[in-house]
Amino acid sequence: MIALPLGCIVLLMTLALVGAVVARTASGGRIVYGGSLAISLALLLIALLSIGGGSSTVTLPLGLPWIGARFQLDPLAAFFLVVVGLGSAGASYYALGYGRHEPEPQRVLPFYPAFLAGLTLVVVAADAFSFLFAWELMSLASWALVMSHDREPGNANAGFVYIVMASFSGLALLLCFGLLAGATGDFSFAAMQAAHPSPGIAALALVLALIGAGSKAGVVPLHAWLPLAHPAAPSHVSALMSGVMTKVAVYGFIRIVFDLLGAPTWWGGVIVLAVGGITAVLGVLYALMEHDLKRLLAYHTVENIGIIFIGLGLALAFGANLLPAAAALALTAALFHVFNHSVFKSLLFFGSGAVLTATGERDMDHLGGLIHRMPKTAFAFLIGCIAISALPPLNGFVSEWLTFQAILLHPDLPQWGLKLAIPADGALLALSAALAAACFVKAFGVTFLGRARTRVAADAREVDGYSTNAMFVFAALCLLAGIFPGAVIDLLAPVTQALTGAHMPKQLDVAWLSIVPVETARSSYNGLLVLVFVTISASLGVLAIHRFASHALRRAPAWDCGFPDPRPQTQYTAGSFAQPIRRVYGAVVFRAHDTVTMPPPGATAPASIEKHIADPIWDALYAPIAAAVWWMSQALNHLQFLTIRRYLGFVFAALVILLLALALWQ
């Protein structure tokens, strides 16, 4: 089976070259995106077919000469290949329409298939070299895509932060693999699995994997590149980066920590839990402060990565205490959320891309009322918003519910650290879910509802069929995964079986298609039934109204307590919507405060309000590092301007010091 994905990768690489050639032609976009779509669908099919099967490996005479390039398709890889295939198929299809608006297609077309190839290659790589090769290739290709709109202000900075962070993540993983491979230089995953590292090494490797894979996934505080890079890239690429690439990073973490490291340790779970909880809450808080639609979505990716890591941390904690069933539940929850997030985040980025195409705006405060002008986009985006807010009956709720069920199993754990950490994480998870809902009320409400705030928003037109179809397909997936979660859970069974030695009970056998994580008496959920219930109740309500109530309907100006203001500027904006939350949470986290300047009574000057928000992580971590590097480079820079005599002095000093050292040593 492994040969097929590799074949797809070769095809994608070829397509990248073709893309470079045909980029400037009229049909270039169709060729590249059509080809990518076909290959992605093939990948998806291959992955779905092979997820239940065993693993198949192949060694090619490439890469490091003495071990070759190894590739493997096991259940874990197959599952993530599903995510990659699905995400890239969607993005490619969407791009068939969206890509037509690209001003400089030659900056996108060659790199797009290469990016897809990199994503796929990471998942199937089975030795450290191939893995990192693919990992960095993925970063490089996506960097090129981030830089595709290079003349827009801020994008250069975005690309810079992104590539440096990507390199940082690659180097951290490199150190991690160096640790796992030992001095022998056997970098194949098989050898690493066989070599049981000592606890100290395993601990360090876990931390390095968390740093390396985490910074690519967007774990706080290593998330800084996401809100910069995602908005800069074209929207179908944003969808891929957010929906798929961060998942591939999660894959890297799972591969290293669950597969290569061997037996987990409980405090490893504590670390991952802590990081996950903080990431989830901070991610969503950042998102709430945002008024750029794509940045908001990027911060939500951070939040969802946090949720995934909570699940992974739980799986580690349970796994370390030999509770495989609970670990399988937690891991299933995490992987389910991986799938879900890739679907709804792609959908949301498609939607934001559609808005961008229609209006040229990403700033929500310049939008509004798009539900009238772009009904299809609005509907699909709404589905995405509900899904990401973890509301039933859509898919986001299911995975968060499963995570909660895993949290509920924590009294079985013996360690006090975990007993205290897990409920706290539960609170953070709940908080992030509630805040996410708040944030998407804001996102949808400000962008699509109300009245148009600008001319461009008022003149927006619905986007092309490819884009809307792509959104509808993903919206349908959100619903399907929400009402038939058992199918996804059963699909994940071989994966968790391979990684934790257990899997959740088979769900499709449960009556009424409910899902039952442990046993019926404990907890169960049935998305389908909830949907049917709600539909029936709503229908009953509608019927009753039609039967008994007045049908009359009058259109009139909005009442607004009697003094409506015709100017759309008086509507709530993203900033004003978030004001209560900013005041409650932001005052602590972001040192947020509003300055109101009131003119004295009688004066005709306008009052003004100014909001101040600091980014604590940037200020505390990135800014000092940047300043230190800058200071250091400044401090050393005068060494460029010395006289020859002084340079000779260096040589002289080096000589004397070395001789002295030698004399003393002897």
């Binding site: 460029q640 020859i644 005599r645 002289f652 004397v656 001789l659």
Partner: protein, 221 residues
């Protein structure tokens, strides 16, 4: 085996070279430096000739001749003319005071003895003395280059450094290619001296003072 007398003489000559190096370090006038430089090369020439004699290595006489003709006579003359023609200040600007420089020079000698004497225990005595004193000369030459601002005196420092290396080369008994090496070195020196002329550093930079030369650095425009 080399006799005690031969050893004494070569030892004395090598010591003399170190002494002359110190003398050069002591000078603060350009002409004086050039004179001492000539003396330095002269002592080297004698030393090399002595080595040729005791090692029965006639090719070393060529090296000695090069040292005498080229370094002791031609180069100092060229330098003197240059100082005259270019109107270079006769004073040498030193970076640290002469006294401190001398102290540093003594430290260099101590260092070279400290490094060399233990490690050359198995080498024959002539080479041993020569090598450790040659190292002193090299280090003092480098010290001279580092503590003088003036290009000509830096060239003088480099020449004395190079004389030290030559001393070591000839002291190493039976070393092949010594002549070739000394020729190659002479070319290098000629390049330096001619370079100052050819690049017309005076014309372009007003002075051969390297501090001034260094002002023209690409990054400070």
């Amino acid at each position: 085996m080399i006799s005690g007398f031969a050893f004494d003489v070569s030892h004395m000559l090598a010591g003399l070279l170190v002494l002359v190096s110190f003398a050069m370090l002591y000078q603060d006038r350009l002409y004086a430096v050039i004179n001492v430089l000539a003396l330095h090369a002269f002592v080297l020439a004698i030393s090399v000739a002595w080595q040729a004699h005791i090692q029965h290595a006639p090719h070393l006489y060529i090296t000695a001749l090069i040292a005498l003709g080229f370094k002791a006579i031609a180069i100092p003359m060229a330098l003197r003319r240059m100082v005259f023609r270019l109107g270079i200040h006769r004073e040498i600007e030193t970076v640290v005071s002469i006294g401190l420089t001398m102290l540093a020079g003594i430290a260099m000698v101590a260092l070279s003895l400290m490094v060399m004497l233990p490690v050359t225990a198995h080498v024959d005595p002539v080479a041993r003395e020569d090598i450790s004193l040659a190292l002193s000369v090299v280090l003092i030459g480098l010290l001279m280059m580092v503590t003088r601002r003036n290009a000509v005196s830096q060239v003088a420092g480099f020449l004395s450094l190079e004389n030290g290396v030559n001393l070591a080369a000839t002291g190493a008994q039976g070393m092949p290619l010594v002549v070739e090496i000394s020729v190659a070195f002479s070319i290098l020196i000629a390049f330096i001296v001619v370079g100052i002329f050819l690049f017309r550093i005076r014309e372009r930079f007003d002075t051969v003072d390297l501090e001034a030369l260094d002002r023209f650095r690409g990054e400070r425009r």
